[in-house]
């Protein structure tokens, strides 16, 4: 029998391989080097991620799928690889600070963050539903464990179990959706599905059900309302660096999966957009309202950030609904901005601990400005950017998101978006008021934060202001990338 082996182009997936090697190297470095602070673990991870980052930058984009049509190394996947790698680096840095105080976490913590990163990168380069599905699993599994890795707190175990059960359930929806779509089109290759649907854009009930199930499965991952129930509990219970990666990496990867499956022009399901657009339209609307209304009522910092992250998922979904090129560009830009401001906010939550007491309530930040002025300043930038204050990347990103919705004539959606954004100023500014106006509750001093955390926060803050003032730095790359697709 003749067996045709497809071309193996390992150098095209070199960034993923480097991250894999780094994850193993992180475990090995803890085995052989007895470092008190386990600086070696963070250093190994940083080095590996940096190498992977620059390897990804140097890769040449090509729209031709590789590995028998399973994955594609187009400019979109290269850009997203860089976003994920930068995010993983920031999370490793803020995780280092957390692990210093909770030594039980290391080094599997960093290794699992890296494994989840590989999953995200696989999603970004999927050209077929099968690797997309494996990528989502590879992303979810380490995050389930990370959520429960703080064994001293019951809430962490609860978060892990909730996340795991609902995640497993949503995986069921995802597989069922993929099976239905395969049943109708007889292929899992996204390009072939797209061509087939473009030729016969007939929405059979089976196909619509396939879409709907896929949307539900991915909706869980990006915590779109009404599939957001798990998010506040998981975000609150999980160790803060894990929360940061669940809130950013996992959510962005979920949107990338939606993008790969639903919108890329001429590829995939774009042909049937009339049938799925109303679905995402309603999800975006409910998500924006529930996220912002929920955040208003929180006194717990991580819970507030959880609802805020749900709300931001709604804004992203709104631009996504437009299905236009500008919508895709705005989504990509906002992903990067969202990553920086959310990781930064969680980083401050880690840094602003008092001796033996983690920062949990928003009130725990009282008087931060007096004792740690730079920390409070960075947090102000993150909060203002999350709210969408001019001068920050959050503002530019939101402007484009709303612009995309208006351009697609979704006026009511854009209106709700603007109104809920105004509402969000209240709870973001409240954090700043606590830091600058309120007196510290007690005589306890805030801990000194580590160099790595300071570095991460600096990168986030400078990045946000930089992108806010010179958005073209990223925008031009994004335009190249959507233009090429």
């Amino acid at each position: 029998m003749q067996i045709q082996v497809p071309e193996i182009s390992l150098w095209q997936v070199l960034p993923e391989l480097i991250v894999l090697a780094t994850a193993v190297g992180v475990l090995a470095s803890d085995l052989f080097v007895k470092s008190v602070q386990r600086v070696n673990v963070t250093l190994t991870a940083t080095l590996g991620l940096l190498i992977a980052f620059f390897t990804a930058r140097s890769l040449e984009a090509s729209a031709t799928p590789i590995f028998a049509g399973m994955v594609v190394r187009d400019s979109l996947s290269i850009l997203l690889d860089q976003i994920f790698l930068a995010g993983a680096m920031l999370v490793t840095w803020i995780g280092h600070e957390y692990a210093r105080r909770n030594p039980r976490q290391f080094p599997e913590f960093t290794a699992l963050v890296l494994f989840a990163t590989i999953g995200m990168m696989v999603i970004a380069m999927s050209a077929d539903l099968i690797p997309l599905f494996v990528g989502i699993e590879l992303l979810s599994l380490p995050l389930f464990v990370l959520a429960g890795s703080d064994k001293d707190r019951l809430a962490s175990g609860e978060a892990s179990l909730k996340y795991f059960l609902l995640g497993a359930f949503s995986t069921g929806f995802l597989v069922y959706g993929i099976a239905f779509i395969f049943g109708v089109t007889r292929t899992t290759n996204l390009t072939v599905i797209g061509q087939s649907l473009a030729a016969h854009a007939e929405a059979t009930p089976l196909l619509v059900l396939g879409f709907a199930l896929l949307l539900v499965g991915l909706g869980f991952k990006i915590s779109l309302a009404p599939f957001h129930m798990w998010a506040p509990d998981v975000y609150q219970g999980a160790p803060t660096p894990a929360t940061a990666w669940i809130a950013t990496g996992s959510k962005i990867a979920g949107f990338v999966a939606l993008m790969r499956v639903f919108t890329l022009p001429d590829v995939s399901f774009a042909a049937l957009s009339d049938y799925w657009t109303p679905g995402i339209w309603w999800l975006a609307l409910i998500t924006m309202i529930i996220g912002n209304a929920g955040a208003l009522m929180q006194s717990d910092l991580k819970r507030m950030l959880a609802y805020s992250s749900i709300a931001h998922g709604g804004y992203l979904a709104m631009a996504f609904t437009s299905g236009t090129r500008i919508g895709a560009e705005a989504t990509l830009f906002y992903m990067a901005a969202y990553l920086l401001m959310t990781v930064g906010a969680f980083g401050v939550a880690i840094a602003a601990s008092r001796s033996g007491q983690e920062c949990e309530k928003i009130a725990d930040l009282s008087g931060l400005a007096r004792q740690r002025p730079w920390l409070a300043f960075a947090m102000s930038i993150f909060m203002l950017s999350l709210a969408g204050m001019p001068g920050t990347a959050g503002f530019v990103g939101k402007l484009w998101l709303f612009g995309a919705a208006v351009q697609a004539q979704y006026y009511s959606l854009a209106l709700i978006g603007v109104l809920t954004t105004l509402l969000s100023f209240y709870y973001y500014l409240r954090v700043i008021v606590y830091m600058y106006v309120h007196e510290p509750d007690d005589r306890l001093l805030f801990n000194r934060y580590s160099f790595s955390n300071g570095l991460a926060l600096t990168v986030c803050a400078v990045g946000l202001v930089g992108l806010g003032v010179f958005p073209n730095l990223l925008w031009s790359t994004i335009r190249l990338c959507t233009g090429a697709v």
Binding site: L20, F115, V134, E202, L206
Partner: protein, 177 residues
């Protein structure tokens, strides 16, 4: 004809064993019923000439996963579990919902439009579903996915270690402790 005969045998077994999984009060009986479901589904796969899938289903699910489930049930001593008392309204509500979903699925699969207009299904080769053809597919077309599954398993092993490790075991490694 023979194929249809086996289909009905296995389909009925799977259906009634499936009812047994949810209906029996004793978790051990549920587990045994699930074994019966899996074996009959393996039979259905065999009737469709998907040999590899059938054997994998028996080996992995019936052999490994179900044994684990039975172990867990015995270790946790769950057989004196108290039945959940649903109100009559809720019971009927759930039954109605189930029937609705079942009817919806039947409607979907009975739809004559399924696959209409899409490229015709290529004829099924004689050796379809054999271990050999599955292996060739796995190691050519789906090669990178198989590799990724390996990465996934590695991550799962590390995760399992993290989950299973008791907090105290790490104390001695802490500085100054």
């Amino acid at each position: 004809m023979v194929g249809a005969f086996f289909f009905w045998i296995f389909a009925f077994t799977a259906f009634f064993a499936g009812v047994g999984v949810v209906a029996s009060r004793n978790p051990m009986h549920s587990a045994i019923s699930l074994v019966a479901v899996l074996i009959s589904i393996a039979g259905l796969f065999l009737a469709l000439h998907a040999e590899f899938l059938a054997w994998i289903l028996v080996i992995v699910y019936t052999g490994a996963v179900m044994v684990l489930i039975v172990f867990v049930i015995s270790l946790l001593n769950l057989d004196k579990d108290e039945p959940i008392d649903y109100t009559a309204a809720r019971r009927w509500g759930m039954a109605a919902l189930t029937m609705f979903i079942a009817a919806f699925l039947v409607y979907l699969y009975a739809d004559p439009l399924i696959g209409a207009g899409h490229p015709a299904k290529p004829p099924v080769p004689d050796d379809w579903g054999s271990v050999q053809t599955v292996a060739i597919d796995l190691f050519t077309r789906y090669m990178i996915v198989v590799q990724l599954a390996g990465v996934l398993l590695t991550a799962a092993v590390i995760g399992a270690v993290v989950v299973a490790r008791k907090p105290e075991q790490n104390e001695e490694r802490e500085p100054g402790a």
